[in-house]
């Protein structure tokens, strides 16, 4: 296993790089965690991480792939090898992480303090895990194109990898937005920044791929589409790499940009994506599809999901690249910002949210919509009630937030109903339901859990954008301010010395009905080495809301600028992403999805033996 070797060496390399770290991105006073995370907090190191994960994945395929058809496995590994080759070449020729400086400075330049944070320390590894995981799906897709054969076994093979990558992406994106939420200090969590979009597009594509691969596996349809999605999903993660490093678009998170590197990645991108798509154009029309289905069916719902998810991904792509297009065509400069994405993305997601609840109730091939809806009436009723309730409670401010809440309720109720229906709850004796529940495969639970997560995220996003309360004021110690029924008292402001920063910490006491129940610390940190300041929000999380306090500039005489937010349901975003990836993990533990006997679908227990002729292990 070549790549295991590379992985091992790379692992050494990563850690020694961070310990030695001659260079610009570390400083002796920095806490250990950030010394390590600093290794991937810069361009070269992050590429190294990329390559490391890539080789780990390659090793995993080699390891678990024992019962793959040997030629498919060989080709998949070869494609992986090519990707690794490209990235290693990129590193060696344009951004070698081991470059020496002739006259080493006595101390490093430090890491951007915004990046010195636990959230961001773990954000890139997860994200790259996702990005690189998609390379496996990609390699499988290209290998299948070379073989000219895509079947249920192939789909069953690809799904766990995609699922694993998807989980990584979900966690990575979640961590990133959580970080933005408490670090940037105005309660926002998603900015439709090009780099965020760059991680979001692969996520959308991967989500679509997960669902379309099901259709390939179960119904032998949507083959060339699934292959295309696998290629596109990985292309999008490469695109993300390109966008971050080339400087073609402005972004908050961009690495130091260098056009020369840009050209190299672009070439890499063109070869990988262009090559695979050429292969697709030549080979895909020959793929035979046997599955036929009616529009109203499980396949139909999954197709709808795919259509809108891909349209959403395309829209994000369009919006992200549009300023560049116009610029290149010299047709003026525009900005495409959150208002655009909010206006287009919501409507595109609506059908998906609708279908994701109904879909599981539909049977394969041909289904009865009315029957499905009858089973779902409780969900419909709950959603409608929620809409009406919100309209009454919030005043008729706008129908959209209410509909959004309705959608969240709809997803959560509908998904739970599906589970109830599956175990025939209340229709058969409880013991029988229990028996059914135990026999329900984990993959089904995975789906239920992941869908619940989506519902939670939808609710959280709405809460954070529509229902938040904000209060900005100047406070001196002892001052109080009322926000959404909570009383915030600025207790004191103290100076403190962190490991590599000085901070002013505002201690807020929060009480409701005269009863104090929490204190939060909001900090404003000054990093002398980097010459920068950051804010750390003080957050008290309850089940239904975040109480969020930020302290700004000030002095004992003039008082401090403080901003206090009541962000209802925001914790659900975080919870939702965790639940979603948990769903993915549950699915992964399903025996049928595990790397067992892919070619024998009907085998009572998978994975008991390996049908492939003894591989040279």
């Amino acid at each position: 296993m070549l790549l295991a070797f590379a992985a091992l060496v790379n692992a050494f390399v990563t850690s020694d790089f961070s310990v030695l770290n001659v260079a610009q991105n570390s400083h002796s006073t920095k806490p250990m965690l950030y010394k390590i995370s600093g290794a991937w907090g810069n361009h070269e190191g992050s590429l190294l991480l990329w390559a490391l994960i890539l080789s780990l994945f390659g090793a995993m395929v080699a390891c678990f792939g024992r019962n793959l058809p040997p030629s498919l496995r060989a080709r998949t590994l070869a494609i992986q090898g090519m990707i690794a080759l490209g990235f290693l070449a990129f590193m060696l020729f344009t951004s070698n992480p081991f470059d020496r400086i002739l006259a080493p400075p006595s101390d490093g330049a430090g890491l951007n303090p915004l990046l010195q944070d636990p959230g961001l320390a773990f954000h890139p590894p997860f994200l790259y895990f996702g990005y690189v995981g998609l390379s496996i799906s990609f390699s499988f897709a290209v290998a299948a194109l070379i073989e000219g054969k895509v079947d249920a076994a192939w789909a069953r093979w690809v799904r766990p990898w995609t699922l694993a990558a998807w989980c990584g992406l979900t966690v990575g994106i979640g961590l990133g937005s959580w970080w933005a939420y408490y670090e940037l200090g105005w309660g926002g969590f998603w900015f439709w920044d090009p780099v965020e979009n760059a991680s979001f597009m692969p996520w959308l594509a991967a989500t679509a791929l997960l669902h379309s691969a099901i259709v390939v596996e179960k119904r032998d349809a949507l083959k060339s589409w699934t292959i295309l999605l696998a290629i596109v999903a990985f292309s999008m993660s490469l695109l993300g790499t390109f966008l971050v490093r080339s400087g073609v678009l402005t972004s908050v998170h961009a690495f130091a940009t260098d056009p020369e590197r840009g050209v190299f990645i672009l070439a890499l991108l063109a070869v990988t994506v262009g090559g695979s798509l050429t292969l697709f154009a030549i080979r895909a029309p020959k793929l035979q599809t046997t599955g036929v289905f009616q529009p109203i069916s499980r396949e139909g719902a999954l197709l709808l999901n795919n259509l809108f998810l891909s349209a959403a991904a395309a829209t994000v792509l369009l919006g992200t690249l549009y300023p560049l297009f116009l610029d290149v065509l010299d047709a003026g400069k525009v900005s495409v910002g959150p208002p655009f994405f909010n206006a287009t993305f919501g409507p595109l997601m609506a059908p998906v949210l609708g279908a994701m609840v109904i879909g599981p109730f539909l049977s394969w091939k041909r289904a009865d919509f009315r029957q499905a809806m009858q089973k779902l009436w409780l969900g419909v009723a709950a959603a409608v009630t929620a809409i009406v309730l919100v309209l009454i409670l919030s005043g008729v401010e706008g129908i959209l937030p209410a509909v959004g809440v309705g959608a969240a309720v709809w997803i959560i109720c509908g998904t739970l109903l599906e589970l109830a229906d599956r175990v025939k709850l209340a229709r058969v004796p409880l013991t029988e339901s229990w028996r059914r529940a135990r026999r329900t495969p984990r993959a089904a639970y995975g789906m239920t859990v992941a869908h619940l997560g989506v519902g939670l995220v939808v609710a959280g996003v709405l809460g954070a954008t529509v229902f938040k309360t904000e209060s900005i004021q100047n406070m001196k110690p002892g001052d109080t301010v009322d926000v959404a029924g909570y009383t915030f008292t600025l207790d004191r402001v103290e100076r403190l010395q962190g490991p590599n920063y000085q901070a002013e910490r505002g201690v807020f006491r929060i009480s409701t009905d005269g009863e104090q129940f929490a204190t939060v610390n909001a900090e404003r940190r000054a990093y002398p080495v980097e010459g920068d300041t950051t804010t750390e929000a003080g957050i008290h999380t309850t089940w239904v809301a975040d109480l969020y306090a930020v302290i700004g500039e000030g002095s004992p005489t003039a008082g401090w600028t403080t901003r206090i937010y009541h962000n209802p349901l925001v914790p659900w975003i975080c919870l939702g992403t965790i639940v979603m990836s948990l769903g993915g993990v549950i699915s992964l533990t399903d025996r049928r999805l595990r790397i067992g006997a892919p070619s024998r679908r009907r085998a009572p227990t998978g994975g008991s033996s390996s049908p492939a002729p003894a591989p040279a292990e």
């Binding site: 070549l2 050494f12 040997p70 060989a74 590994l77 070698n96 081991f98």
Partner: protein, 57 residues
């Protein structure tokens, strides 16, 4: 010193990736099982190097 090892490891990984990208593909094309399963030998070849590296480090 360690940084140089890292550098050479990168170069080695680069070369190996080159082989990994071509040999199994050629093997699959020819139907040559040995070439298809080529990476196994590789691990053997590389393991003494790994041991040496870890000891050294």
């Amino acid at each position: 010193m360690i940084a140089e090892i890292g550098h050479f490891a990168l170069i080695a990984a680069f070369l190996l990736a080159g082989l990994q990208a071509t040999v199994p593909l050629y093997g699959a094309h020819k139907g040559d099982r040995g070439m298809m399963n080529w990476r196994a030998q590789q691990r053997l070849a590389s393991s003494p190097l790994c041991c040496w590296l870890s000891l050294h480090w």
